[in-house]
């Protein structure tokens, strides 16, 4: 009995020493070495790809999406619903986030998705206006209505079939920095009107900020909303 206890103790001791040595290698030396090289070679990227506006002010990360809301009417009212500032291009919706999970809607404190299933809120296999609040069906229907209403101007009508899927669904991280070119295109008339700009000028801006697939086939074409709005601000702002 004694020998088996001491054998076990010896074995666990060896295990502990192995773990400690490998912790020093993989948990201390490795991350420090990688951090050192990364900071030397890719300083900006290793620190979050910050972007600045014309005045040199940091306005966020090119990798992380943001909201473009109007200031609250009453800053102390936590319940007040956020209203999009239609002067700016809008990102993918975030209304569904945080109601059932803990995502903090583009504020980066906590990332994550709605985790709603495709049949969430459906009645008889259909998504209708009567879908229960907070379900994916209700969110998609509401988002689609809002996209159509917000983006239709006196001279430009948005048809339901024109609204792309990314405009009415929330992303995996809840921090998606991009929208599809189709969603950007759909916002051009509204943005031009609200900013008193020529539609052609805004179209050019969107075209300049549309990134195709990497090497022509990797990923999907996209428009970075923060970069686009920063360029828009440079065009319009003082």
């Amino acid at each position: 009995m004694n020998t088996s206890v001491s054998t076990t103790a010896r074995l666990l001791g060896a295990g502990l020493r192995a773990l400690l040595v490998l912790t020093v290698i993989c948990g201390v030396l490795y991350p420090l070495a990688v951090t050192g090289i990364a900071q030397a070679l890719f300083h900006d990227k290793a620190n979050g790809s910050e972007i600045k506006d014309k005045s040199g002010q940091v306005v966020g990360s090119s990798l992380i999406g943001q909201t473009y809301h109007l200031p609250k009417k009453d800053p102390n009212d936590a319940e007040e619903a956020a209203r999009p500032d239609l002067k700016w291009f809008q990102p993918r919706p975030s209304n569904g986030l945080g109601t059932n999970s803990v995502n903090t809607q583009y504020s980066l404190i906590l990332s994550g998705a709605t985790n709603r299933s495709g049949d969430n809120g459906a009645v008889g296999g259909q998504c209708t206006k009567n879908a229960e609040d907070g379900t994916l069906c209700a969110q998609v229907i509401a988002a689609k209505e809002a996209v159509i209403a917000d983006n239709s101007t006196a001279t430009y009508t948005v048809k339901p079939a024109d609204v792309p899927a990314d405009a009415v669904t929330s992303s995996g991280s809840g921090l998606d920095p991009d929208i599809s070119p189709a969603y950007a295109k759909l916002q051009i008339h509204r943005v031009a009107e609200k900013n008193g700009l020529d539609v052609k000028a805004v179209e050019k801006l969107v075209a300049d900020h549309t990134e195709g697939r990497t090497l022509g086939f990797i990923g999907e074409p996209r428009v970075n909303v923060l970069e686009l709005n920063t360029a828009l601000k440079a065009l319009t702002g003082p």
């Binding site: 295990g15 040595v21 890719f42 980066l108 998705a113 709603r116 049949d119 995996g172």
Partner: protein, 554 residues
């Protein structure tokens, strides 16, 4: 170019990259585990451990090494989390509660990386980098060591000796995982993944105000999370988070990292048993299943059935714009057919059939190509079962690689394949039968059942992905999933090593005209069929209640 074409081209590019890496990496790994030479730094490590790397171990000794190292690892990681509140470099986060600390420790040591915590809100630099990321390395190295021990069991005769666990552990870590991780981490930083030790800080925003950023050694952890088929994200959104997976290229690169070692290990196997064609037959089996599942997943996600997806005009809920549907589908199959469980899009928001494909992928036992090491040994167990079934059909004693598959061997193999389904189905049944666990579901009906089935499937198979609608941070789920992960990892290893020991003792039987050729397409077909039938028979009733019911309703 249509998104469908782009998706197929990305898959083809991935296959090309894996094919290029296959021979050099597979041969290199065979040399690592066969070499007699110890490098100087390795000798220092062995001296610190107090182990002689030249000592051959029989299977019980090898198993004791695996279990001792893993037991110490669980305790160490548990203690680290419990002490987080008083450790420096913790970003001000509190110590983790006992049930969650147990769950997380079990999860990372078992190569599962199920997470019931929110990374950016719970774990500081010390626990992430010094605890969780270390297990990402060593739990993967343990898996490879056990696989190599089984391969030696086939390759050796009349000995019973399977190698030295400490040498296999150290070599797998420092000669294979570490150099690949350094290169891969720098590639990810070049794409935009962050790598710093900044604290929580405020960064300005476009419309004024500021947002709160966590710093972190993200790239260095991200790379080993994929390479070691671990899957535990630095952030809650895992590989959907732009700081973990910033660009379409980084996404394809991460999928490559997930698959490269498991596929290449079949070359290592062929090399070590002295017959490369045997390795190719195993590779072909894995590749057929992987490509078939990926094609099915792309088809169902692009079709986008489901009321909310039809209303939206596509299944983009929980998917990132830069990846789109094609690259998300490829990632999700790679992660569930290996033991990774990292996600670049949220599985709970896949179509009903898409969720079924993810579940089935894990339920195959994660062998196509499976986790690092665990994929190979899982597939070799299936290979043994397949020759046994073929042997029954023709009335001959089955053989595989010149070893007789007798009563003892088939008992070990049968125990192996029974453990995980027993854990999955018993725990799922218990959770559904008890009054409170079902309160954790986000969705109701068939999808709610799938959330729970998915959780135990993911835990017991050491995957770690989730239908994350399930609130798993309860005492019930933390404890039972923790137990499922540990038993699902280490009980199968017992039978693998026992089988390896039994095979290594045999003397080889000469090949005759009646021997089933296990290096031919006929055998690959038999093996694919065996895997599908065994899994189908085991899980069909449960799948019918969950994803099949949901998929057929929409």
């Amino acid at each position: 170019m249509s998104p469908q074409t782009a998706g197929v081209l990305q898959l083809l590019a991935l296959i090309g990259a894996l094919a290029l890496a296959y021979r050099p990496l597979g041969d290199y790994m065979a040399r690592v585990y066969s070499s007699e030479k110890h490098y100087k730094p390795e000798k220092w490590i062995y001296r610190a451990i107090g182990a002689n790397p030249g000592t051959e171990m029989r299977w019980p000794a090898y198993l004791r090494g695996v279990l001792a190292f893993s037991a110490v690892s669980v305790l160490f990681l548990y203690a680290l989390q419990r002490l987080q509140g008083v450790l420096p470099g913790s970003l001000g986060f509190q110590s983790i509660d006992p049930d969650q600390a147990f769950n997380t420790a079990a999860s990372f040591v078992a190569n599962t990386n199920w997470q019931s915590y929110y990374g950016e809100q719970a774990m500081g630099h010390v626990v992430q980098t010094g605890g969780l990321a270390v297990q990402n390395f060593v739990s993967a190295a343990v898996g490879m060591a056990v696989a190599v021990a089984l391969v030696r069991g086939f390759a050796r005769s009349r000995t019973g000796e399977l190698g030295n666990f400490w040498a296999d552990l150290v070599r797998g870590t420092v000669r294979i995982l570490l150099p690949m991780a350094v290169i891969g981490a720098l590639v990810l930083v070049a794409c935009g993944a962050i790598q710093n030790f900044a604290g929580i800080h405020e960064v300005g925003q476009f419309t004024g105000g500021s947002q709160q950023w966590n710093g972190g050694a993200v790239a260095s952890q991200e790379v080993i999370k994929e390479l070691g088929t671990n899957g535990g994200g630095y952030f809650n959104a895992n590989s959907a988070h732009p700081f973990e997976n910033p660009t379409p290229f980084s996404n394809l690169f991460e999928i490559f990292l997930i698959l490269v070692i498991p596929f290449s290990l079949t070359r290592t196997f062929g090399r070590m048993v002295g017959n490369l064609r045997q390795g190719y037959a195993i590779l072909a089996t894995m590749a057929v299943i992987w490509i078939g599942f990926t094609a099915l997943m792309m088809w169902t996600e692009f079709a986008g059935h489901g009321p909310a997806f039809e209303a939206a005009g596509g299944a983009m809920e929980g998917k990132e714009t830069r990846f789109g549907i094609g690259a998300s589908a490829i990632f999700s199959v790679a992660t569930t057919l290996t033991s990774t469980g990292a996600v670049n899009s949220f599985h709970s928001s896949y179509t009903g059939f898409g969720g079924g494909i993810q579940l089935l992928g894990m339920q195959l036992g994660e062998i196509a190509p499976g986790g690092v090491g665990s994929g190979l040994y899982g597939m070799l167990i299936m290979a043994v079962i397949a020759v046994f079934i073929a042997g029954l059909m023709v009335g001959r004693t089955p053989e595989y690689l010149g070893k007789k598959i007798g009563t003892r061997e088939i008992k070990f193999a049968a125990c192996y394949i029974l453990i995980t389904p027993a854990l999955v189905l018993c725990f799922t049944a218990a959770a559904m039968a008890l009054p409170t666990p079902a309160n954790s579901m986000t969705n109701t009906g068939a999808h709610g059942f799938s959330e729970i089935l998915y959780a135990y499937t993911s835990g017991a198979n050491n995957n770690g992905s989730a239908f994350a609608g399930l609130n798993a941070d309860t005492q019930w789920f933390n404890s039972t999933i923790g137990i499922a992960m540990l038993l699902g990892r280490f009980l199968p290893m017992v039978f693998v090593l026992a089988l390896a020991g039994s095979l290594a003792e045999q003397k080889p039987v000469p090949e005759t005209a009646g021997t089933l050729r296990t290096d031919k397409p006929l055998y690959t077909g038999l093996l694919v069929g065996t895997i599908m039938i065994i899994t189908g028979l085991t899980y069909f009733p449960a799948l019918a209640l969950g994803p099949l019911a949901e998929g057929l309703a929409s």
